[in-house]
């Protein structure tokens, strides 16, 4: 059975283009122009994944509201914010509402599809029992590349997909400096320097939330970042 993706986007051309791209990949796609229509459809049947714009027709923050309601309906449903708004504040708000990723519309369709695929893979992996061989252990860190989950001292650290890929890239070869471009490639994103910096900052903060003494992500000025055990 085809996996279903819901696209909630008020701009019809974009919605249809995304829908066409996802359909080409073999997904069943349904598009909704606003929160009301999306919600009534979701009430009947939940999609397997939702791509939501923040600003929806007459509601500038409608996407946030929809995300919260959708999370209420399902805790596991992967949600991706895809928006033209790229401010730090929006990203923080969106991720705090439980979205799995926060992407800007600069992202190419190929990158978007890669993420969607990854999220579906993670959903599948989570349904299967954990396999030890896919787990990377670095001191207090254990990282499951299949399920895309991270634990620090046995405690789960909730990371967005982008953040996970950044941590994954850093920990794959601890001590090696990864520059920004390498991190971007690993995360399948095109971001400017400031966004990378804020992603790193958020990663640090999330780890520090479970361990105040966390200091494994080092900045190498002028070059990039590295994971220090």
């Amino acid at each position: 059975m085809k996996k279903s993706i819901a696209i909630v986007e008020d701009e019809r051309a974009i919605r249809d283009n995304y829908a066409a791209a996802f359909a080409r990949e073999g997904y069943a796609v349904r598009g909704y122009p606003n929160r009301r229509e999306a919600l009534s459809a979701f009430a009947a049947r939940l999609p397997d994944l939702a791509v939501i714009d923040i600003s929806l027709e007459d509601e500038p923050e409608g996407g946030f509201e929809l995300c919260r309601q959708l999370r209420g309906l399902s805790a596991e449903l992967p949600i991706i914010f895809l928006t033209a708004r790229d401010s730090e504040l929006d990203a923080v708000s969106g991720l705090r509402l439980g979205a799995d990723d926060f992407l800007t519309k600069d992202l190419s369709l190929a990158h978007l599809i890669a993420r969607v695929n990854a999220l579906f893979r993670r959903v599948d992996a989570l349904r299967r029992p954990a396999e030890e061989k896919q787990v990377i252990r670095r001191g207090a860190l254990s990282l499951d590349s299949e399920r895309m989950t991270v634990e620090w001292n046995g405690q789960v650290v909730l990371l967005s997909l982008t953040e996970f890929w950044i941590v994954y890239a850093l920990t794959k070869h601890p001590g090696h400096v990864k520059n920004r471009q390498q991190l971007m490639d690993a995360a399948n994103v095109v971001l400017d320097d400031n966004t990378i910096t804020s992603h790193i900052k958020r990663v640090r903060r999330k780890f520090q939330a479970v361990d105040e003494k966390f200091d494994a992500v080092h900045t190498v000025y002028g070059m990039g970042y590295r994971w220090v055990e």
């Binding site: 283009n17 000025y221 002028g222």
Partner: protein
């Protein structure tokens, strides 16, 4: 002190133009002393005229009091009757002191009008002077004689034909007859006059007259002799005369000349002397500083009363300033110093005007330099008012009012001079203050827009209530509106970027979908071009939003202590790999330079400075990064060889959207790099500046961060 530093800060913005103008304006107060001088001159004229009028009034009053009182004017014996004036009439001058009878008449205060001149044979002549003092009559005979022969009358006094020079004096006596005395010069010294008394039997004898004193003396230049005689006035009646009897050689004819009739030695000339009571009468009119003169109708002076001294010091102001003032004050009004003779002539002509029947006044130069006498003369009429029996003349020194005028003027000029100085000083101060205020306002309005992208709206002077305050306030409101506008412009890029992003997404996603469809080769080329275009558009949008992103990042930055030296060294090390076609040098202290701030932002700042340096230098160039530290701040600079900066861009370089690029560059540039440098610098409380290298071989950008 604050003013001085202001002046230093704002530089020499030609602060003297307004000042000079006001200074010149203040100099117009110099018109005040000029007006004062004009007023003083006017006042002086009025004063002088009123002085003349009042003196004339006094003169007329005294003349009135003497009207018809001939007996008061002239001594009883010499009342001029109806007889016409006679050239032999003698009018003695009244002396203020008794002359010394010594054969010298120098001390006599004589007047041409009191002199009788009689010519003798050849160069011989007689000048007869007469004067009175109290109850004495003095005569001085100045005889010019070509041959001086002593009188031999001592041997034979009665010999009428005796040899030598003999002087006859004849006057009416109280008994109705005439007395005749002769003086025979027998040498220098006192001698007695002798009269010839006829005894019984017609015998005559010469007797000395003991009441009359006389002294014989040679003249100084030895061209004759002087005989000075003193006679009690009580002895003398109405007529008086003298005769020179000159017989130089035995057998020669006797030569006689004088005011006596040579045939019978009879005096016909009158002695017109003032009455002794006249002085008494006039004394009641005497007042300080006023000289009083009474003359007969012929103009001969009868009496003169010297001016009693004025109370107080009315000597005219001396010193440099008063002299300067007088230089352009006195002008033609006051005659310069004149000789005694000229003054007498002036007095005489005034008397002559009065003799004609009308009172007259005149200004006469005084005895001393710059002193002036006001004189007035009035005729004295006989009782019937038909004849003029005399003239009275009053002379008053004008020194008093001149001195008063000088004092007033000096004070006025000093005051106005002081006022002018004060006005000039005040104008200078005011202009200086005004200039400073305007300069300050001008500077503030210049810099308000200059360095800050966000305008500072508070200008100096905005609390002032004058026009400058208004100006400042209108500047402020102008700047406010400008601020709103630049604010709009600043956010415009970000808004625009956001708005364009949606259609760009449509294009891009459509292209990507199109790409996955089966296409001809040509279509692929066009799709590739369209994608390239949309990517560039995307890059532009990212660059446009960069400043907003940095501002956002700054807003969320956390400060921490970090080692700036280590950061700079590490970063410069990394640039070597990032820009292999440039060489980098790094000069930083070996010891840690601890700074509180956001290291990520500092790295970003350094990135932008390096980007800038790379952009403006050629391949193979060396970019020098240096970190210098002192107690208060750390100074990070990046120098690159390349074209020097245009002068005017030194401060504008750090403004948003300003760039000084000449060559076409395919990468999107919005001049945001240095603006971001500025934002980050300001977040750290520092300052950024750009300058050319000393040898103009490139540019250096310096960021100063407080520690």
């Amino acid at each position: 002190m604050g003013r001085l530093t202001d002046l230093l800060n704002y530089g020499p913005i030609s602060p003297f133009r307004l000042r000079t103008k006001l200074l010149l304006l203040a100099l117009t107060t110099l018109a005040l002393p000029w007006a004062g001088c004009q007023y003083a001159r006017e006042m002086e004229t009025v004063l002088r005229e009123s002085e003349q009028q009042s003196l004339l009034a006094v003169t007329t009053t005294i003349a009135g009091s003497l009207k018809g009182r001939q007996e008061l004017l002239f001594r009883a014996d010499s009342l001029p009757g109806g007889e016409a004036s006679n050239p032999r009439d003698l009018t003695p001058v009244v002396l203020s002191g008794a002359p010394l009878i010594d054969g010298r008449a120098d001390e006599w205060d004589t007047d041409a009008r009191n002199l009788i001149r009689v010519a003798g044979p050849g160069t011989d002549s007689l000048r007869l002077l007469a004067a009175t003092h109290e109850r004495w009559l003095y005569l001085a005979l100045l005889v010019r004689d070509n041959r001086l022969v002593f009188d031999a009358s001592e041997l034979a006094p009665l010999d009428r034909d005796t040899l030598g020079d003999r002087i006859w004096l004849a006057f009416d006596d109280k008994r109705g007859g005439q007395q005749r005395l002769f003086f025979g010069g027998t040498g220098v010294g006192a001698l007695r006059g002798r009269y010839i008394e006829t005894l019984e039997y017609g015998r005559e004898q010469a007797l000395e007259e003991p009441r009359i004193e006389a002294v014989w003396q040679r003249t100084r230049n030895d061209d004759g002799y002087v005989l000075e005689i003193g006679i009690p006035l009580s002895m003398v009646g109405q007529h008086l005369g003298v005769l020179i009897d000159d017989r130089d050689r035995r057998g020669a004819a006797r030569v006689s000349y004088g005011t006596l009739d040579p045939s019978d030695l009879r005096a016909t000339g009158r002695l017109i002397a003032a009455s002794p009571d006249l002085g008494e009468h006039l004394r009641q009119f005497s007042q300080p500083g006023v000289e009083l003169t009474v003359a007969s109708a012929t103009g001969a002076i009868l009496t003169r009363m010297d001016a009693p001294a004025l109370p107080g010091d009315y000597t005219r102001f001396r010193g440099f300033l008063p002299r300067m003032y007088r230089l352009f004050l006195d002008g033609d009004v006051i005659p310069r110093s004149v000789t005694q003779a000229e003054r007498e002539r002036a007095a005489q002509s005034l008397t002559e005007r009065a003799v004609k029947g009308a009172p007259a006044t005149a200004l006469i130069a005084g005895r001393y330099e710059n002193s002036v006498t006001v004189a007035a003369a009035a005729p004295i009429f006989s009782a019937d008012g038909k004849h003029i029996i005399g003239v009275i003349q009053l002379a008053q020194t004008a020194d008093r009012w001149l001195t008063l005028r000088d004092r007033a003027l000096t004070r006025l000029l000093n005051l106005t001079l002081f006022a002018t100085l004060f006005a000039v000083g005040a104008a200078f101060w005011f202009a200086g203050r005004m200039t400073l205020r305007i300069t300050r306002l001008g500077h503030a309005s210049e810099t308000a827009l200059g360095r800050e992208g966000n305008l500072s709206r508070v200008l100096p002077e905005s609390n002032a209530k004058d026009e400058l305050g208004d100006l400042s306030r209108s500047f402020s409101s102008l700047l406010g509106r400008l601020d709103e506008y630049t604010g709009y412009l600043r956010t415009l890029a970000g808004k625009l970027a956001h708005e364009i992003r949606t259609p760009l997404t449509i294009i891009r996603s459509s292209l990507e979908n199109l790409e996955s469809e089966a296409n001809s080769d040509n279509a692929r080329i066009y799709i590739a071009r369209a994608r390239e275009g949309s990517e560039r558009l995307g890059a532009i949008l990212t660059a446009m939003g960069a400043a907003t992103k940095v501002e956002e990042a700054i807003a969320h930055s956390e400060r921490q202590r970090f080692d700036l030296a280590a950061l700079v060294r590490a970063a410069v090390g990394a640039y070597g790999t990032a820009f292999p076609e440039r060489r980098f040098t790094c000069e930083a202290p070996a010891e840690p330079v601890m700074l509180t701030g956001a290291p990520d932002l500092i790295v970003q700042l350094l990135d932008k400075l390096i980007d800038n340096a790379v952009d403006f230098s050629a391949d193979g160039a060396t970019i020098a990064v240096s970190l210098r530290v002192d107690d208060e701040s750390a100074e990070l600079s990046v120098a690159n060889p390349g074209p020097p900066l245009p002068d005017e861009t030194a401060t504008r370089l750090f403004e948003s959207l300003w760039q000084s690029r000449s060559e076409a560059d395919r990468r999107p540039h919005f001049g945001l790099g240095l603006y971001i440098v500025r934002l980050i610098t300001e977040f750290h409380g520092g300052s950024a500046r750009a300058a050319n290298l000393p040898d103009a071989s490139g540019a250096v950008f310096t960021v100063r961060l407080p520690r």
